[in-house]
Symmetry: D2
Subunit: 358 residues, 4 copies
């Protein structure tokens, strides 16, 4: 009887990481989420992760995230309950949660731009409660979840919630990487390193990784970068031009989000090249049209649509994409405050992606 009571208690509240304004995080008891729409599912999270964007939120840079929000948009879990109009999933299914919520019927969804879905987009851990909790409610479950084989490694697959599709779509695909290309990636953080992994799927001849931190550059080298450039001396441009016989690169991928790194991309791009912006920017940058107007370049920006997720999942399953090597640290949900601290100090902690286990 006591046991029933306890069990009942467990079923109605859960642990969750809650944002309470800039630099205010708390691990709290919150009501377990319930179905709201018939197309919702509630997922019991088994693995989640912390994204660089979560740090932006923590600093107060993302005004759509308000006090009381449960953070997190990455996760793997088990279907707990489904709405009456969820067609493709059942209680007990192991699933990957996509960061992108999409209705599947609006004009943006119909053209594959789910990032701008009129009824969705990036909602989780932003305008609705997210995945850094024991449970999460997923709207439009049929389009926002992917079924997983029971034996797949959570740690590899959780990289597909946000990190690898972002790298693939905003970096590799927007950059139109082709076999034989020379590619520079500016920023060897978790997204830049994921861009390195997805870019290799297109067999460029050269991948030049640029960062301020030698440790991260060593990781990049171990992930397949053919050249590394430490930009802390302010001479990254000269070094890249020397490494490319003065030609510059075919593709420059910005994976930081500040003016200095965007400038490097503009300076090293060869005529006909592509600059793919992946970084989240807080300020305008100077675009050097006085020089680039005649350079036949293509510059792209993108919020991930997650259309590449099924392909990336297939590649992990086929053994052609070792997503797990992005994981540098593991914590339990009870330690998530500490995990954030480690991630905020990523360079010193040699952190890439931090996985949270429930």
């Amino acid at each position: 009887m006591t046991r029933t009571a306890v069990s009942g208690h467990k079923m109605t509240t859960m642990k969750a990481l809650v944002f309470h304004g800039p630099n205010q995080l708390a691990l709290e008891n919150r009501p377990k989420p319930k179905l709201v729409e018939a197309t919702d599912a509630v997922i019991r999270i088994t693995t989640t992760s912390i994204c660089g964007t979560d740090l932006h939120i923590l600093k107060g840079d993302v005004p759509t995230v308000t006090d009381g929000r449960i953070l997190g948009h990455e996760g793997v879990g088990i279907v707990e309950t489904i709405g009456t109009h969820v067609m493709d999933f059942h209680k007990g299914d192991k699933v990957l949660i996509s960061l992108i919520t999409s209705c599947g019927r609006c004009s943006f969804c119909k053209k594959g731009m789910q990032s701008h879905c009129l009824h969705g987009g990036w909602l989780l851990g932003n305008s609705i409660d997210g995945t850094q909790a024991e449970y999460v409610r997923i709207p439009f479950a049929d389009t926002g979840l992917y079924r997983l084989p029971a034996d797949i490694d959570d740690e590899a697959v959780v990289m597909l919630s946000c990190n690898l599709p972002t790298a693939m779509e905003c970096g590799t695909l927007c950059g139109q990487v082709k076999p034989g290309d020379s590619v520079a990636i500016v920023g060897a953080g978790p997204v830049g390193l994921a861009v390195l992994l997805t870019t290799r799927l297109y067999s460029p001849a050269e991948i030049i990784m640029i960062d301020l931190d030698d440790n991260r550059l060593e990781v990049a080298r171990s992930f397949g970068a053919t050249k590394v450039v430490n930009s802390s001396d302010g001479k990254a441009v000269e070094q890249v031009m020397a490494l490319t016989q003065g030609n510059g690169v075919d593709v420059a991928i910005e994976a930081v989000g500040i003016s200095a790194t965007f400038d490097i991309c503009q300076a090293i791009i060869s005529p006909g090249g592509r600059i793919a912006n992946v970084g989240v920017h807080g300020k305008p940058v100077a675009l050097h049209l006085e020089r680039l107007w005649a350079a036949n370049i293509t510059l792209t920006t993108r919020l991930v649509d997650a259309g590449s997720t099924p392909m990336l999942l297939k590649m992990i399953q086929a053994g052609h994409l070792d997503a797990k090597k992005l994981v540098s640290h593991r914590f339990n949900l009870s330690e998530i405050i500490k995990a954030y601290a480690v991630f905020e100090n990523a360079a010193a902690e040699q952190a890439i992606k931090i996985v949270i286990k429930n």
Copy 2:
């Protein structure tokens, strides 16, 4: 005997418009050009034109153009002499001169980027003497000339030397205009109006022309613009957003080359849209990545490669492209100084393209 002497004189000198530093133009006698390389041809010009870029040169904005240079990169004429390795042309052929010189064998030419040909590019009236003269030497004649039927209208075809391929490639093709799109063209000068003509080949649903001058906007309307916006009140953005039910446009084409017009493009582009820069810029612009990083836009820059020239010629011949309506004024070569004055005062003179007849 006198006649022979005069004739001899006529054969060795010619009239040519010569640049002598900022704001210094003179119509002078210059030696008639001779073949230098075996792949050269000398063309007797029958029709040429003045390009907006010539005005930039006149202001001293193009440092590669030095004192003594014959200006002009547009022209139709008759082959006068050919080098021993010109394969496809003969004396007496009527030809169109492309602004782009290309070797046809370098890495850029092989990938269709003749604008950046390692042995060519935009040379005419820039780093070598140009077409605003009685004769011009054309390097790599086989790739730089197009044979014309004897009965074609020079005035229509001379628009293919620079104006229409620039509009097609840097504007319409880079903007990926598709049937049903909404397109805004910022700047209704000769290039913007040419963009309007080439954009219509892809049947957008809406073409919104934006300019400061009501006369030019009326011309745009007569060319097929579905909406016009006079931006002199500083409210172009609000007007375009109202005309598009708040959605913005699928394609924004910048055809001026200044910060204010580039800003309009950034403000009216819808998620997933394309900004095609056609204007020649002298200064950096601010790129609003703090907003656009998540907007899935594609921004392009391009120097024309002239690969679209054969297609555009076919369209003129088939009667599907009325290039001649771009011509607003006609002068003889002897009046070219006056023609420049009219073109410099284009709005008041209601000038679009000015054709020079020899």
Copy 3:
């Protein structure tokens, strides 16, 4: 009381055209359709049409259509009732019905191939009851209907249920028609003529229409064909080669579905050209790889996905696509048996598309 009874009767039965095996059609009273799934809508049909595929069905060529099926996959109407999970439509909305039913969430829908939707595809008037009736049930109403302005012309818009998207996607887009191209369309029936309309949106330089019937060729000419070839003398290939200076065409579009017309396409395609098959074929054809293996051609087949429908609707609304001129005959639903007879005898009756009014 009597009136109530009659009214009740009217509300539960309806007139519908029913297939009873090869060459057996009947206009019958059938129960008015009801919602089955929560994502369904029931539409009161105001306008429908007869498609060439309906004639194939009538001949018994489409085995998925069984005795008792209400035919028709084209229609415009008014929303009568909606299921509890229809989000975007309400009773009284005027709507266009797409021939393609799509779930919006399966792997095919996610990549824009709704024709092969795992839960849909071409179902209407095929494996479920269709639109040649007073009412029809539409599954997945949110993805299968398009809202129409109240004042739009039904006759123009009903061409968007099947005819024009098929022409656009299977013909024009698969054929990659570009400005300046020479295009041959083999077959000037309702689909071939629709291909002509959609192909013109891309401004080819030449559109050569090939058919056995001079009347249809005259219609083609009035729709914008630049050349017409009557193939009844068996010399279509020679004529097309002569019209193209021996080069052949850039794009050949097959809009009949038999070996003879497919052979013409293979014989007139130029190196680098595209053959787009639109016709519904009942037998294999010979592919002349002994000649084409080295010809750099692209051959496509396609069942329409209807992704182009919103764009085509926009083009009709903008006045850039005169779909209504495809309509040659009009009948009331009570006369539909006669309408089929006219359509079966299309050449003699000078019929293109036949519209049925309720």
Copy 4:
């Protein structure tokens, strides 16, 4: 003096493999080739190879090859003499010879379809003398040769004359192979195995190699095929469908050139898939449009344009493409008759590519 005479003799004649009609080959003394056009170069061959097409010629299947022709279109060598208008090469340069001769200025060259160059195409060892000799004359040397570093391995690079660009362009690029795709390659001969190498550059999830010969299938596995199917039991289709959970493959590449292998491709292609024909066909095949008309497939044919050669060379130099492993046998030019015999008996001899050293 005697020595001078001998040397003079050596300079005017050379050993060459000459075709004398079906099944008639002879290694003969022939005059050393001389420059004909100013754009020619004469190359001293250091390494050549035998192509499957040479066996077709030997059987008499290629009517453009006439009695007296020196065979061969693959080669690496040293520039011996250059015409007065060869711009980019000098005596002594180590060069790769492309099988494709191209003028660089005709309409086909300008659109990257050098295979159909109006003044070139596949000429070497076909309509002009080829590379299986001590020397060869190369027309349009500037576009038909690629400079090599002195220390590069001839055996790897000679695979770039024909084999690898054919595989890349006609197979991998035409098949639009993408990361995550399932690809079937029908035929594990030298071209099919080269397709396997170039296809891996795009990281498909599955590469299924189909052949009649277990040895070749083992080679395919060692080259990276993820599955192999021996089709000698006539059940290749069933096996591929089983390996793909009944879905079929995204890309089917035909690398044999007969009806039976083309049929396999048609039977295993999934909706939306691409069939890329690489094989040289001597007869028509049946195209199953009665089934494929609605399958949204794209079928391509192509003669190699060799535009991918610089990229492939870069990939070899960067160590990302191990071309040399295609070489199974090596002979001297004096043994070339024997080398042909081995290649004609390739399966029993376990031959892939046979290299001939001078």
